[in-house]
């Protein structure tokens, strides 16, 4: 099927892109990897008058870590995240999620920023960023603002992004000391969206949890942060009883809906089991890794 007609611009700098978005307002849509947007255009679920293709804006594609912050450019592709040795060694939750987003061909084009902006409650990156307590930098021609991941998502396919804004940077507090993470995803077949997935990121200090982050995928109107489970872990040794308690709290935070992937009870139970497993795996990694 053909998309409805639209105008198309492919700016080469961020400023040009922001000028266009500001001038066009609601009429426009950003095109990043296109792996969500183009299928939507084809099905005519979206028909913007003007696409602003940011694929040629090289300054939006980066990954670096300095001054205590990991910075990810919105145009950083799923595949680049999957292949990064630095992410694999320091941010297990990112690396493990990256290889489970969609299929290898979609990952060649899909971007981390596009995925976050799309705000699909079954998207994987949102939960990862909630677990990491990331912040997003949103910029328009009129200025920029920083918003925490937990305040960004506002419902199915809805976020704090305004039509003249671009997500320009994802900031994650750098992992230091003993840390570990995991991303466990239940899918009907390889490459599928999650039935349920759980993101875990842990920082340990002297055998105790310095901070814990837990994000839940596909069990609510948006990616959810399991705050009470996180709080229950803080400052405690990660023994089995503590892990079980946190897993029960994460399951209670889930708001799944029954569908052809499973019942409410089933999905909630998967959240419990995956939180337990994820915390154990993250604990092992925190003990093993520097």
């Amino acid at each position: 099927m053909l998309p409805a007609p639209f105008e198309y611009s492919a700016p080469e700098t961020m400023d040009e892109a922001l000028d266009l978005l500001d001038a066009l307002g609601d009429e426009s849509k950003v095109l990043a990897g296109g792996q969500s947007l183009i299928p939507l255009l084809k099905l005519r679920f979206a028909s913007p008058a003007h696409l602003v293709d940011v694929n040629r804006v090289a300054e939006l594609d980066f990954l670096d870590e300095h001054d205590g912050v990991l910075r990810i450019g919105p145009l950083f592709r799923h595949k680049a995240a999957e292949r990064s040795g630095m992410l694999a060694s320091k941010y297990a939750v990112i690396a493990e999620a990256a290889r489970q987003v969609a299929d290898p061909i979609v990952r060649n084009r899909g971007t981390v920023g596009g995925s976050l902006a799309h705000a699909d409650p079954a998207g994987d990156w949102g939960s990862v960023m909630l677990a990491l307590d990331a912040e997003f930098v949103l910029r328009s021609k009129r200025g920029s603002r920083t918003i925490r991941a937990r305040d960004f998502f506002s419902g199915p396919f809805s976020s704090a992004l305004k039509s003249n804004e671009l997500l320009v940077e994802i900031r994650v507090p750098a992992a230091d000391g003993r840390k570990g993470g995991s991303y466990l995803k239940l899918e009907r077949k390889v490459g599928d969206f999650a039935t349920v997935a759980v993101a875990v990121h842990l920082q340990m200090d002297d055998g105790k949890v310095k901070s814990a982050g837990i994000g839940l995928t596909a069990v609510g109107p948006q990616n959810l942060k399991a705050d009470r489970a996180e709080a229950a872990l803080k400052g405690r040794a990660l023994d089995d009883a503590t892990i079980k308690e946190a897993a029960a709290l994460a399951a209670a935070a889930a708001e799944p809906k029954a569908d052809n992937r499973g019942s409410v009870d089933y999905k909630r139970n998967v959240v419990r089991v995956f939180t337990e497993r994820g915390l154990r795996r993250a604990r092992e990694r925190a003990q093993g890794g520097a």
Binding site: L2, P5, E7, Y8, A10, L31, L43, I105, R109, G191
Partner: protein, 168 residues
């Protein structure tokens, strides 16, 4: 409104006027008349439409033709050279890696990109690399066998290079 794009298609320079909404797969099939690239779904799930853009496999139903401006496009037609099947094609034939053949162009383009990156993949790596390609009739066992056979053959013969662009 048309836009002029120029790209390299299987090694040859092509210039065309396209509407921005034209999908790359339609450009390839209907404008270039390269019908080896197939359309198997409406949701970008099946992989029948996979081509290489600058050497990287992409689903051409999820890319706009205008986005290929200035790039190198490689479609399944580039595999056979001088009337001779590429080792990947020969292996799919020999190992019965196809029945109806609908998924085959996409399977071969994914396999081609895999072997360029990793000349000696094991079964799991092959299954992983092909996990964005759906086959509804052959079953994957013979497809995996075909890729293994192609890998063995290509190591022996240092296969003929085909135009794939910078990324491979």
């Amino acid at each position: 409104m048309g836009r002029s794009i120029s790209l390299t298609v299987n090694g040859e320079m092509v210039t065309a006027d396209v509407e921005p909404r034209l999908l790359l797969v339609h450009f390839i099939r209907e404008r270039l008349r390269l019908t080896g690239t197939h359309i198997g779904c409406d949701t970008s799930h099946c992989g029948a439409c996979i081509v290489l853009l600058d050497g990287v496999p992409v689903k051409s139903c999820a890319v706009l033709a205008v986005q290929a401006d200035g790039r190198q496009l490689t479609s399944v037609e580039a595999l056979a050279a001088g009337g001779k099947l590429h080792p990947i094609q020969a292996a799919f034939k020999q190992e019965h890696g196809l029945q109806c053949g609908f998924c085959t162009p996409g399977m071969m383009m994914s396999s081609f990109a895999l072997l360029a990156d990793n000349p000696d993949p094991d079964e799991e790596e092959i299954r992983w690399a092909l996990s964005g390609n759906i086959c509804r009739c052959t079953g994957y066992v013979n497809i995996v066998k075909a890729v293994r056979a192609a890998s063995a053959q290509m190591k022996l013969s240092a296969a003929v290079p085909i135009p794939v662009g910078a990324g491979s």
